[in-house]
Amino acid sequence: MKFKLLIAAAALVAIAGTASAQIKPEEAIKWRQSGYGFMAWNMARIKMNVEGAAYNKEEVVKAANAIQAIANSGMGALYLPGTDTGTGWEKTRAKPELWTNKETLGKVATAFNKEANEMAKVAAAGDAAAAKDQFGKLAATCKGCHDEFKIKQ
């Protein structure tokens, strides 16, 4: 019985393994670039509301929820080994350090997730000034990762 379980588990691992191996490198790069691009749209929407004349709570909630969802989606899985070079929608701008400096990556990613979750909370509360403040903090964590792991070009 135990042996059967082990085989089943091994099979599952193998399937899971092939499932992620089946993501083509260029797909992985496209998807992560798409994720970031989509977040940038949502950041722009929040910015428009906190810096513009009128604050539309519903819009900010939608945008913040979208960012939160992506932040918690496990996007790290898209950094397949070997995809520090290659082309998705454009040539990847991920630095090779992203695959080697796990400690810093963990730090900036955790900071980002924290502020993204907080953004969703603040948006739901509906206070424009607080949202503006939180927007700044969130944007700073995007930059925190970009400074370390995105090539400027």
């Binding site: 940038a40 539309n56 403040d133 700044g136 700073a140």
Partner: protein, 229 residues
Amino acid sequence: MDHRDYRLWDLPTRLFHWFLALAIVAASVSGQLGGGLMTLHGRIGLAVVGLLAFRLAWGLVGSTYARFGQFFPTPARIRAYLRGEWQGTGHNPLGALSVFCLLGVLIAQAATGLFANDDIAFTGPLYDLAGKARSNGLTAIHHLLSKLVYVLVALHLAAVAFYAFARKQNLVRPMLTGRKAGTGEPARGGGAVALAVALAVAAVAVHGARGGWMPPPPPPPPAASTPDF
């Protein structure tokens, strides 16, 4: 004790100098912190554009020692200065070289910033003229040039310190009071008309840098709300 002094730096030059110093510090800090400070960074950058345009104009129409022609560092003048033979008033040829380098690099810094983007939520006002790909390239230059700005500012401060301690020459006081101890030809010119012209040049530059001549963007949708899908 001889208390004679003469008019060296006119008031507009001095105001330009200190506002520029302030703006560069503020732009560096806001640019490096990013996040919610990027909007401010863009505004400070535009102020720098105005200051630089003013200085370029003032270099033509300002008072004696503010004029580029008066202190343009020709190789002959630099050689004379290094041999210790330079006899002049105002910027010495090496100082003049530093002025032109700083102005040039800052012009490039501000100009690239106008087209830059931070890949988060901020773009320079002329971003649309460049498009995303070229903007990325200019952003990288903006980033690299900022290091050069630090190097030049550090050299500038080191030179001031060198003259203060090694040469016993206080360069800061004339930049505050406008007057230099000793005798020399007092600065002339740079009156109200010249000032108005230089200010107008600065205003035009800022207007252009803000995208004042770009085709107006399409009007935003009336209610900033999105559909439910």
